[in-house]
Each structure stands twice: as structure tokens, then as C-alpha cells.
Amino acid sequence: MLQKKICMLGATAVGKTSLVRRFVESIYSDEYHTSVGVKIDRKPVRVKEKDLVMVLWDIYGADEFQSLRMDYLNGMFGYLLVADGTRKSTINDALTIQESVAKDFAKMPFVFLLNKADLKDEWEAGADLEQNLTARGWTVMHSSAKTGEAVEEAFHTLGGKMLR
């Protein structure tokens, strides 16, 4: 059995948990978040003709990055960096998180998700920002936990990057 630990990172209320919930059937209640600060789920997927079990560490969001427990990231093979497209501040948080993570985990595969794509008319994320990030080599996707848009795709894309 091939298992890979994947972390969900991003500011509070950007929809990390909703994305996970959209992706897997959970056995734990969401209370774990507030008690331990992380909730772990598991999803078998097939990527590049390999059976892979994604062990998802949904880490409680942190606006102040200092409060993110770096310990939880140990041993990850990749992560989803999530921001709320309707709140510019969360994009800035994501950039800060990415900077810190890159210090300890250089060249770690990740996918940047601009979530809440169902509210695109309220978006604060501009096309120039996206271009800028893509130019830096980021994979940027628009997702919506509400409609399910690009959710499976995002996890599969990350899976593909990890098995490269």
C-alpha cells in the first residue's frame, strides 16, 4: 500500500475543511480541529496507474502564521495551499505560509487553490496576481467546495506532482 501524507494549509475559513469533506467520507467529527488543531482523513485514489492512499492532514487555519504548528507538516509529500478568492487578505496569508513552508520543505509539491469559485463576481483576486504566480511556477486552480468544481482535479493534480 502506497500512502502519502498531504497537508491542507491556508488561512481560517478559506474552505479547507469543506474541500476535504467534498473529497472524502470522514470518520472523525470536525471537533478535532478545535481540540488538537488537526483532523486526519484518508482517501484512496488512482494516480498515474498507481493506487495511492492520500492521508489528508487538515490543519486548523491560522491567520497569524506563527500559530501554525510546523510539527504537523513533518513527513508530508505535498500540500494544498488554499485561499479564499473573495478575500484578498487570505491570499496574502497564503503567500506568507508558502514562504515559511518553502524554508523547511524546499521543492515540496503543492497546488494553490483559489477557493469559492462559485462567488466569482465577488472576487478580489485579480488576473495579474494569477499570472504572476504562474510565472513563478505555481500551479493555480479555481475550486469550489460548494459546487465541487475542480476539487477531485486538485487532489489528482497534487498526486501527479508527488509521483513525478
Binding site: 501524507k5 470518520i27 478535532y32 488538537v36 486526519i40 484518508r42 510539527d71
Partner: protein, 598 residues
């Protein structure tokens, strides 16, 4: 053989020849000397060489020492290499042997396998009996009942509840977790233990470790040694690359930690490289599962033989009491049952057709007249429970006199003063009843099932008896007169009205079709005076009363006045009376006959 004695003298020819000779001689001499010195050794070497070249001889030599040499090798610690070297051949040999003739090995193993199998079966039976004994022991105690309730409440099997309570400790799950990635490498679980997804549990365990370490600012190399949740404890031992977590129900001895530590060391020794190179693929660690399974220990409370005895005694006494009660109830029920059947058969209107056991209780089938007693009442009177006996009723008309009588009474509705009795199918009605009811009785009684004949001779119509009563009242009416006078005193006046009323009632009761009713108004006198005078006076008196009665409303044609003088003394009717009663008028109802009608 090749020995040649050394030559002492040589002839001398030419110089060259001599030199030649000399060299030849020297060689010869050397040869001779060598022969002289080494011949025995050379012979020996030659013989050894020949022996080395001869395979048969060599095999013979080796056969003498092979066993000793293997033994020596093992003694000097080379057993592992020896095994390794021998194993393929031995395996191949065994395989070949089985292929050629399996019976040879089977025969060889037979004495070993028989006892081994027996031992294994005995062990299985022993453990089964032990668990059975334990269950039995706990089933019969107060504690056992409590546990049984707990089993009902929690939905766990009873045996499981018993085990949990007599458990000192049981290691339910063992996780082998890769330290760096916190991914699950291997996992094993004790039988009958339910688990959640172990890969998530391992993740959460690592997360909790990180959380605790971070929250209390513990050094990174420190780890959580144990977590306790109610009856469950999680013991964690940590190696450089992996951690081992054991989930324990109850309290394991401290020595168990040593077992875990030994295991994690063994795993690091055997899987060091796999741990180092781990990239998420747990397949290589499947081989570590037997090591984890060795950690699934459990320990239960030893049986306490002395403790069991009181229960046994209590159970034995209870069983005896129960048996006695059951016996007494059975005898008692039997007695009651016999009484009940007799009572049922004696009951009029009930015929028992069959009785027997059906569905765990008695069932009595019977014919039952609707007017007969309810068999349930008989059952109750005999002190039997409703569960004990049940009935199946078939309705019918009974010809029992008692039932026929009830039926007749129900159908005929006799008036209050009539009594109806049935004997041998004959209905006997006695008493007074309206003539209408009396007239219809015969026809109606014939329709009552069971009534063969009606005897109504004891019946009288209530109308006739009323007439009689009025007639006797009339008869007792006496109008008295003073001496020699044909007119009553004033105190007698009231009598006319009441007499007239009686007469008119009698007239009313007379059928319009029969002859009119006739009342004789009879005048009397006392014996004083002459016969002729008395006759005249009595006639006057009779006529006087007749007039008075007509005045009071009686029709004249119903009255017949005549004087009798002293010829029909009233005193006959009242022996104690004095003469004054003879100076009177009396009334007498006469059956209406045509010749008496005026």
C-alpha cells in the same frame, strides 16, 4: 627394488670420456645416495598420491570423519552457515523423496504427527472448556446476572463482557508508525476487537504527540510514553525511525514495555534500510506483522476455586426448592384437574367430548348448551388458572330436565304466581295465571326443545279465583234488623253501597256470552212469632234490601228476593251467634241457570 649398491671402482678411458663418465657417475652417485636416504619416504608419498587419485578410497576416508567434522563445525559456532549450506539440498532431497514415494516420509513422520495433532486438539478443547467453565461460573452468580444485563445494554456478547471483567489486561492493537511521515507501516489487532481505520489512528497518534510536545515545549526527541483514556491505555515506544504504539485494555505490567522496546529494536535491526528509504509504500513491512502479533498479549484473572463453592451450594438448594415446588404444583394441579373434570361432567348442559394437551396447556372440547354454566366459572370454582386449561365450545340443545326447565321458563315467561317444573320431559305448571296465558301454554310449550308433554292441571285462571273471593265476600254480608221491623237501623245503611259494588264487580266479570249472574236476597226472622208472620216479615225484609241495592246501582234483574222465615237459620253459619243474627237478610250467589231466571 631400484636400489643399487654404490660402485666403488670405475675404469679410466679418455679424458673426455672420463669427464663424461665422471658427470654420469656423480648423477648416479647422487641418485644412489637419494635412494639410499629417501627411498622409504618416496614410497610413502607415491602411495599417498595413488590414494588421493582414487575416489573410492577418498570417500572411504571421508566417511570415517564426516559426522565428527559437522559436529565440530557446529561446536565452533558455524551452525548457521552449515544450515544455510545444507538447507537447499535437504529441501530438495525431501521434495524428491515425497515425489518419488510419499509413504516413506509419511511413515517416518507418523509417530511425530499423531501426538502433535492430539496435543493441538487437546489444547483447543482445553481452552474451549476453560472459557465454557468461566461463562458457566459467571452465569450463575449475582455478578453474572449484572454482566448479562450489561451485555443486553451494550449489545456485546455475554462471553465478551465476562472476558472484559475478568481481564487484567489485553493488548488489543499494535501500530507500527513511520516516525518522519507518521504513516502507518504495519498494524495488527486482537481477535474480536473492532477498530477504526488504523492509518487514520496512526496519524492522529502522531498529531497528538506533536501537539503535546509543542504545547508543553518539550524537546523534539522526547515523545509521549503513554496516553490513558478510561480503561484504555496507549503505550508508545520510540525508535530512531519508527514508533510502536500498543493499545491496551486494563493495566499491563511494567515489564510489557520491555517487550515493546525489544520489538522496536528488532524491527530497526531487520528493516533498517526499508525504514530509511520509506516513501509511503508499506509493502515491505508486512513481514514485520508477526513481530507485532507477538506483542498482542493478554492476561485474565486466575480462577478462584474456593469462591465458586457458595454459588454451587446456593444453586443446588435453589434447584432442590424449585424441584420440590414443581413436584408439589404438579401433584396439586393433577388433583385439581381431576376434580375439575368430574365437576365439568356433572354439570347439566355440558358434555365433554375430549381433553388433552395442546400448545403446552390442557384443552377441553365440549358440547355446551347456551343455558348451561360457563365452563370458565367451573374452572374458577375448582381453583384452576385460566392458563392451565382452555376450552373449545360446540353449541347444542341439552335435554337435561334442569336445562329444559330453564329454557321453558325463558320461552314461556310464566307470571309470578306460576311455577314450572320439568321432570322426564314433562312440564308441570302450577299456580294462578291469566286465562289468556293458560290457554296458550300448551301450544307454546310444544315449541320448547325438550318438552314432551305439558301438565297444566295445577293451574287456575286468576280471573275465576277473583270471582270466588267476591262471592265469599258477598256471602259474609249480613244486614241485621230490629225485632219485628223490615227496615235496618241507620248504622247498617253503609253496607248497601259496598254490597252493591261487590255485586256489580261480579256482574262485570261474567262473560257477556253466559247467563246473567243472579244474587239471591234471602230474608230471615228469629223463631219468635208465628210461622206465617215470620214468612211475611222475612219477605218484606228481602224486598227492602233489594230496593236498597237497586237504589245503590244494582240492576233489579240480577236480584232475587225471597223470605225463608226461620227455615234456613243463619246461625248454622255462625254457631256462636245469638238470635239477633236471625233477624236479617243474607246474599247468595247462584250459578245462573235458565230456570232460575225471572
Amino acid at each position: 627394488m631400484a636400489e643399487r649398491p654404490p660402485q666403488q671402482n670405475q675404469p679410466e678411458d679418455s679424458a673426455a670420456e672420463t669427464r663424461e663418465e665422471t658427470r654420469e657417475d656423480k648423477r648416479q652417485k647422487f641418485q644412489d645416495l637419494r635412494n639410499l636416504l629417501l627411498a622409504p619416504e618416496q614410497k610413502e608419498i607415491q602411495s599417498l598420491r595413488n590414494r588421493m587419485d582414487d575416489r573410492a578410497a577418498r570417500a572411504e576416508d571421508l566417511s570415517a570423519v564426516v559426522a565428527e567434522s559437522i559436529e565440530l563445525r557446529r561446536e565452533h559456532g558455524g551452525g548457521a552457515d552449515l544450515n544455510k549450506a545444507l538447507m537447499p539440498s535437504v529441501e530438495e532431497a525431501l521434495r524428491e523423496s515425497v515425489r518419488k514415494d510419499p509413504s516413506v516420509l509419511a511413515a517416518a513422520l507418523f509417530p511425530v504427527m499423531g501426538p502433535a495433532i492430539r496435543k493441538s486438539i487437546a489444547e483447543s478443547i482445553r481452552s474451549m472448556l476453560e472459557s465454557f467453565n468461566q461463562t458457566m461460573e459467571h452465569s450463575l452468580s449475582a455478578q453474572g446476572i449484572r454482566w448479562r444485563l450489561e451485555s443486553l445494554r451494550t449489545g456485546r456478547p455475554f462471553s465478551e463482557v465476562v472476558l472484559l471483567h475478568s481481564l487484567v489486561y489485553r493488548v488489543e492493537q499494535v501500530f507500527l508508525i513511520h516516525k518522519a511521515t507518521s504513516l502507518l507501516l504495519a498494524h495488527c489487532v486482537a481477535p474480536h476487537v473492532s477498530t477504526k481505520d488504523p492509518s487514520l489512528v496512526s496519524g492522529m497518534l502522531s498529531a497528538i504527540q506533536s501537539y503535546v510536545r509543542d504545547s508543553f515545549k518539550a524537546p523534539k526527541e522526547d515523545s509521549l510514553d503513554s496516553i490513558q483514556v478510561g480503561e484504555l491505555e496507549v503505550w508508545v515506544v520510540s525508535g530512531p525511525q519508527a514508533i510502536l504504539a500498543a493499545v491496551i485494555r486494563g493495566h499491563a505490567p511494567a515489564s510489557y514495555r520491555a517487550t515493546l522496546e525489544k520489538t522496536i529494536e528488532d524491527i530497526h535491526r531487520d528493516f533498517g534500510q526499508a525504514l530509511e528509504e520509506f516513501d509511503g509504500d508499506s509493502a515491505p513491512f508486512a513481514a514485520a506483522e508477526p513481530l507485532l502479533e507477538n506483542c498482542l498479549e493478554s492476561h485474565y484473572e486466575p480462577k478462584e476455586a474456593t469462591k465458586r463453592r457458595p454459588y454451587v451450594a446456593v444453586v443446588a438448594v435453589a434447584a432442590l426448592v424449585l424441584a420440590a415446588v414443581a413436584l408439589w404444583m404438579s401433584v396439586n394441579n393433577n388433583r385439581k384437574w381431576n376434580h375439575f373434570m368430574v365437576a365439568l361432567q356433572r354439570e347439566p348442559g355440558i358434555v365433554v367430548t375430549s381433553s388433552g394437551m395442546e400448545g403446552g396447556h390442557h384443552l377441553v372440547r365440549l358440547l355446551h348448551d347456551p343455558l348451561a354454566k360457563d365452563p370458565a366459572v367451573v374452572r374458577h370454582d375448582e381453583g384452576l388458572d385460566a392458563e392451565f386449561v382452555d376450552f373449545k365450545l360446540e353449541p347444542y340443545y341439552s335435554l337435561d330436565d334442569e336445562i329444559v326447565e330453564k329454557r321453558a321458563i325463558e320461552v314461556l315467561v310464566p307470571p309470578g304466581e306460576v311455577s314450572c317444573k320439568v321432570k322426564d320431559g314433562v312440564l308441570t305448571a302450577t299456580g294462578r295465571a291469566p286465562s289468556d296465558w293458560v290457554h296458550k301454554l300448551k301450544d307454546r310449550a310444544a315449541l320448547v326443545p325438550g318438552v314432551k308433554k305439558v301438565d297444566a292441571t295445577g293451574l287456575e285462571s286468576s280471573e275465576a279465583s277473583e270471582t270466588q273471593m267476591l262471592a265469599s265476600e258477598l256471602k259474609s254480608t249480613v244486614f241485621t234488623f230490629p225485632i219485628g221491623v223490615a227496615q235496618v237501623d241507620a248504622d247498617q245503611e253503609g253496607k248497601f253501597a259496598s254490597a252493591a259494588q261487590v255485586i256489580n264487580s261480579l256482574i262485570a266479570k261474567t262473560s257477556p256470552l253466559s247467563q246473567p249472574l243472579m244474587v239471591e236476597v234471602i230474608g230471615h226472622t228469629d223463631t219468635s212469632g208465628t210461622e206465617g208472620l215470620n214468612m211475611s216479615l222475612s219477605q218484606q225484609r228481602a224486598e227492602y234490601v233489594t230496593r236498597k241495592l237497586v237504589d245503590a246501582g244494582v240492576a233489579r234483574r240480577n236480584l232475587n228476593p225471597h223470605g225463608v222465615g226461620t227455615s234456613e237459620p243463619v246461625r248454622n253459619h255462625d254457631a256462636a251467634g245469638d238470635e239477633s243474627v236471625e233477624r236479617s237478610v243474607t246474599l247468595r250467589l247462584v250459578p245462573a241457570k235458565p230456570n232460575r231466571v225471572e
